[in-house]
Symmetry: C2
């Protein structure tokens, strides 16, 4: 049989899995529910059983598999240690070692899910062909992953790529989940966009298409109205893009990537959003005329399984 | 003869050079003036002559030398191309290729001087023993270098590690040399400290030890007075450290290094300054209790030649 590898993305609701061949083609994709009982104690053994079952179904053996790349929704230390994973209820776990032991000692790589998604977008997604890539995920929160020279910048304390918590707003009075005030996530996440829109609408009585949604405004409503030229919505989105541009300038002055990949639900606003982000970025980086590209993520929810597979190919130094 | 390599740091006034053995010991150190005539056209050939002369004096040949690592005071693109180097007047140069050709094709590595200094501090300086290191140089300007996994994060557009130009101040009205307003360098450089001190003294009539210096305040005066508890000086230095802390939090949320190394003239204020920087940093990073160390640079002006030598060992994959 040809060699394969497996990418696995553990989320709070489902565990996504994919078998890839060495050309980077997704051969088989499936998912199982994340069993949260007893602090998600059985997730790793559920994965092990499911992997064996599907490999068998697909007429593969563990020996055909070069390894597994595993993404978890929390900080991972260089040793593979997961001190806490809030979404799963895990404490003091070594998930990769556990999975490896259950699967005859197969190599298992581990990483934070956002970092691994960045690797996926670099390998087969929006940043294909580039080596220095930063993924920014604009969803319920703001996440990110940093790839330098084709490899994840893991960081030493589990916070590399946590760009949602960059302090960019000086006059924010509410607290972020992390305990600070003024984090990027407080303005540039879907939640942040909605909150800012409500603030803008409450501040005066300017007419706005957004007012018809009353208390039930979504981030998509704000983006849609901004596209239609609604002044209040545009004000919100410009502020969002300003702070995204500032955060990206910080990243550029640190690692100066080839490309920023914008993903997550908010990125569905597409080129409209990219253009505004680029305009704002340029206001804060005048040292170099050449600048990173800004592109949309293309793998969606599959970025994590692609990245997990690529993690294995990086480990195995297999041509891909 | 034992193998050696050479680190070279091209500055606006002098070119520093050093011969190192494979154990990382500095065997011979010397300098020549930087000839600025005709847009510093002869600097590379001056270096080539001087290297040959000193190697001969020290009874080495070019064949004993594994290579040369060259630091230049400006942005370097991945191809080794230097589009502009303002301090030297260079335009459109490939300095490493030029030097290599003059020295029988010996391998020559090239990098931005601040990045190479960071590599030096990682190898034999304040960050010895660590692999993920960020150097912050507080001098006339604010420079920096980022090392990931023992190697320089070069960046793709020549601005990696240019942390002096991170936008951190929102209410700055004057422009930075880069064309933006609110850069870290505008407050945390020696120049920035003096300017801020003058602003604080002008703002009211509070008594301060600084007033005796009148218009001739230096950054050292401000730091010395702050150490003695002078309220005005402390106000300035706290603000400096606040913005340094914020910039370091941006860096941590991007690459999460083992250690920050603080160098440059301003860092002579020592532990007093480090403590204040660490206090401010902690206000902006609450996501992880574990945090990077903050240490002082120890190689001073020799960081560049150490880093140049290490660049060669990285190229040559020689044990060091």
């Amino acid at each position: 049989m040809e060699n394969i590898c497996i990418g696995i993305d553990i989320g709070g609701t489902t565990v996504k899995m994919g078998i890839f061949n060495t050309s980077g083609k997704l051969v088989k994709k499936w998912a199982i529910g994340t069993s949260k009982e007893n602090n998600s104690a059985s997730v790793i053994s559920d994965i092990a059983s499911s992997v064996q079952e599907v490999l068998h179904e697909q007429s593969y053996t563990l020996n055909d598999c070069l390894g597994i790349g595993l993404g978890v929704p929390g900080p991972v230390l260089p040793s593979g240690y997961v001190e806490v994973c809030v979404n799963l209820g895990w404490k003091d776990r070594y998930p990769a070692r556990e999975l490896s032991q259950m699967l005859s000692g197969i190599p298992v790589g581990l990483g934070n899910d956002a970092n691994i998604a960045a690797l996926g977008e670099m390998w087969q997604g929006g940043a294909k062909g580039f080596g220095d890539v930063v993924l920014i995920t604009l969803g319920t929160g703001v996440g990110g992953g940093v790839i330098i020279d084709g490899k994840i910048a893991e960081g030493r304390h589990g916070i590399a790529g946590e760009i949602g918590h960059m302090h960019v707003i000086n006059d924010e009075n509410e607290y972020c989940n992390c305990g600070c005030r003024g984090c990027l996530e407080q303005i540039a996440s879907a939640t942040g966009i909605v909150r800012e829109a409500k603030r803008v609408l409450a501040a005066d009585t300017m007419p706005s298409l957004l007012r018809k949604h009353k208390e039930h405004i979504s981030a998509k409503d704000v983006l849609d109205c901004a596209k239609e030229g609604d002044a209040a919505a545009l004000k919100v989105i410009k502020k969002v893009c300003r702070y995204l541009g500032i955060a990206m300038s910080h990243i550029a002055y640190t690692v100066d990537p080839d490309v920023f990949v914008i993903g997550g639900g908010v990125s569905k606003a597409g080129e409209f959003l990219l253009k505004m982000i680029e305009n704002e970025y340029e206001k804060y980086v005048k040292l170099s005329k050449a600048k990173p590209r800004t592109v949309l993520a293309t793998l969606g929810n599959d970025a994590g399984i692609y990245g997990g597979a690529k993690l294995v190919f990086n480990m195995a130094s297999v041509q891909s």
